[in-house]
Symmetry: C2
Subunit: 332 residues, 2 copies
C-alpha cells in the first residue's frame, strides 16, 4: 500500500463518484456534549462508500478479464455491479439469502447476476472460486485487496480537506468496521494528509473481532456470523492486509449495541435528514454514546441501504424527545 496507489485510484474515479458532504447539527453536539461531524457516505452513488473500492478495483482490471465476481451482503455488491456496468463487464454477485431486500434489488438493477447462498450451509468461497474459474472472471474481494483499500482511501483524502475547511485539525475519526478496508484506507490517507485526525474503528457488540485483534495483536474471530442488524459489517475476522495497517495507525476499537445504532439512525433522520442503515450508523452511535472521546469527533456514516421495516423500527423505538427550553441556543 503506497500513497501512489491511493492517488492513482482517486484519479481514475474522477467524475464517477460523489464528493460526499461533511454535515453537522447542533442537536447532535448538544446530546453528545462534543462537536460531531458526519461524513455522509450514504449520499455516495449506490448508497455506500463501497462504490469507491468497487470502482478502484474494477477500473484497475478493465480489459484483463471477461467479467468480475464478488461476494457481498449488499453494499460491495452494488459498488462492484455499478463499476462493472460502467466498464461493460459482466458481474456475478454471491449474496446471502437473508441479505436486505433493497440491496438484492439494487444489485440486480445495476445489471448484475445475483447468486443467492445459504450462510449456514453453503461453502461460499468454494462456490465463488468454482464460478470465477469456469467463467474466467476476476474476484473482487470486499476489503482485503490493495486496490479496494486504495479506493476507500478517497474518503480520507476528501475528509482531510473538509476538516481543514471546517477549522478542525485535531479529532478522532470513527469508522464503521467489518473487514477493515474502509478504516485502513482512511487511516492511510489521513496519516500523510491530516496527521491530527486519529482513526478508531467501531463495531457491533458481539462482532468486535477488530477491537479484540487490535487489543491483543493477533487476529480474533467472531463466534457468530449473523445475529446483528448491522449486516453490512459482520465479517468473521480482520483482513490480512487491513489488520497490520490498523495496528500501526488506529487507536483502540469501539463497540456499540444494535439499539444504539438504531438510536443514531433516528437522530440522523431528525437532525441531519439523512438515511442510514444500522451498520452505517455505528460510528455516529459511538460518537453519541461512548464516554472518553475528545472534544471533536468525525464519524463516517458509511451507508444508507436499509429496508423500510428496519428504518421504521428505529423511529418507533427512538421517538422525538422534546428539548428542554432551558438549553442555550447553539452557536452557528
Amino acid at each position: 500500500m503506497t500513497p501512489a496507489l491511493i492517488d492513482a485510484a482517486h484519479t481514475r474515479a474522477q467524475g464517477h463518484l460523489a464528493l460526499t458532504p461533511l454535515l453537522n447539527a447542533p442537536l447532535l453536539d448538544r446530546l453528545a456534549g462534543r462537536r460531531i461531524f458526519v461524513k455522509a457516505e450514504c449520499l455516495q452513488v449506490t448508497g455506500s462508500f463501497k462504490a469507491r473500492g468497487g470502482w478502484a478495483a474494477v477500473s484497475a482490471l478493465a480489459g484483463s478479464c471477461a467479467g468480475v465476481l464478488a461476494m457481498s451482503s449488499g453494499n460491495h455488491a452494488q459498488g462492484v455491479a455499478r463499476a462493472a456496468a460502467a466498464h461493460h463487464l459482466a458481474a456475478v454477485i454471491l449474496m446471502p439469502e437473508d441479505a436486505p431486500e433493497i440491496k438484492i434489488a439494487n444489485t440486480k438493477a445495476w445489471g448484475a447476476e445475483v447468486v443467492p447462498y445459504n450462510r449456514a450451509t453453503t461453502d461460499r468461497d468454494a462456490l465463488a472460486r468454482e464460478i470465477a474459474e469456469r467463467r474466467g472472471y476476476a474476484m473482487i474481494p470486499p476489503y482485503d485487496h490493495p486496490e479496494v483499500i486504495a479506493g476507500q482511501a478517497s474518503v480520507g483524502l476528501e475528509l482531510a480537506e473538509q476538516a481543514r475547511a471546517a477549522g478542525v485539525s485535531e479529532a478522532e475519526v470513527l469508522v464503521p468496521c467489518g473487514g477493515g478496508g474502509l478504516a485502513a484506507g482512511i487511516a492511510l490517507a489521513l496519516a500523510t494528509r491530516a496527521p491530527g485526525l486519529r482513526l478508531r474503528t467501531v463495531e457491533p457488540r458481539g462482532f468486535d473481532d477488530m477491537a479484540r485483534s487490535l487489543a491483543t495483536g493477533t487476529a480474533a474471530r467472531n463466534a457468530r456470523l449473523s445475529g446483528s442488524l448491522c449486516d453490512a459489517i459482520l465479517t468473521p475476522t480482520p483482513g490480512r492486509l487491513t489488520l497490520p495497517l490498523l495496528q500501526d495507525l488506529a487507536g483502540p476499537g469501539l463497540v456499540v449495541s444494535d439499539d444504539q445504532a438504531l438510536a443514531a439512525m433516528a437522530l440522523a433522520f431528525r437532525s441531519l435528514r439523512i438515511v442510514l442503515e444500522p451498520g452505517g450508523a455505528v460510528a455516529l452511535a459511538a460518537a453519541l454514546f461512548s464516554p472518553d472521546l475528545p472534544a471533536t469527533v468525525i464519524c463516517i456514516a458509511s451507508g444508507g441501504n436499509v429496508d423500510e421495516q428496519v428504518f421504521t423500527e428505529a423511529l418507533r423505538r427512538h421517538p422525538h424527545q422534546s428539548h428542554s427550553p432551558e438549553q442555550s441556543p447553539p452557536a452557528c
Copy 2:
C-alpha cells in the same frame, strides 16, 4: 430586486450556510423516463432552504433593532431563529398550534420564543404587529421581502454552477412553491447565470394559487388554509413581489397530490437516502409523475423537517417494488 442585492446576500452568508449537493439516482431516472437531478436543500442547516433567506434578512438588519419576529409553520421559523441567535438578537416566532412537533421543538432549540396561535380563530397579522411594535422588533416576512428573496436566490447561484459541472445546459427547474420566495429567488439567479434552465413552480392540489395566478395574470386565493400534508407550502395567495417576478420568469405551474408527494418521499428515502417532508417533495413528485416534461429536470428538494408519523406513513403507503430483471443496467 437587483443582481447586486443577491450577490451581497450571498457574500454575507459565506461560511454560515451549506452548499447543498446535487444528487441523482438511476432508479429515479428509470421510473420517470427522464434524467432527474435533486438539489438537496433538506441538507441545508436547519433542514430547509429557509436558513438562506433568514440569514440574508437578519444579517441585513443587524444593529438596527432589539430583536426579530416571524410568522411561520416551522421552516422559516428555524431559519430566522438560527440567524437571530448567531447575531445575538432575540427572536419571537408565531407558529400555528398544529405545526409539526419537530419544527416547534427545533425552533425552540435555536433559542427562539415560540408564540402558538390558532389558525382559524386568531388574527395572526394583528398579533404579530402588536408584539413587534410593543418590543421594537423587526418583522421578517416569509417570502414577500427583497432580502428574503435575495437569500433564497443563492440556491440558484449554486445550481447554475452545479448544472454546468454536470453537463446540463437545458432543463426545467421544478421548485416547491408556497408564497413564491424560493422560486422567485432561483428564477432571478438563473436568468443571468444559466438562462437555459427554465423555472416552474410546483404546488399541492387544492393549494395551487400560484399556478392559477400565473395562468390568469391576477393573484388567485386558495379556498382553504389547511388540509394538505404539505404544511410548509400552504399560503393563501402569491406575494406582491414574487408574483410579477414569476410572471416574467417562470413557465406554467405544476400541481401534485399529497399521495404523489408521499411517494416521492419514499423514493427519495430509497434511492437518494435523504429525508424529505411532504412540502419539500412536491417538485420531485412532479418530476416523477407529470407528463410533458423535458428530458432533463432539476428538482429542488426544499426541506426535510418531518414528523416520524408522516414519514413512516409515506414508507407504508409506498413500499419497495422489486425491479424487473429485464431492465437494462443504467449508465453511470
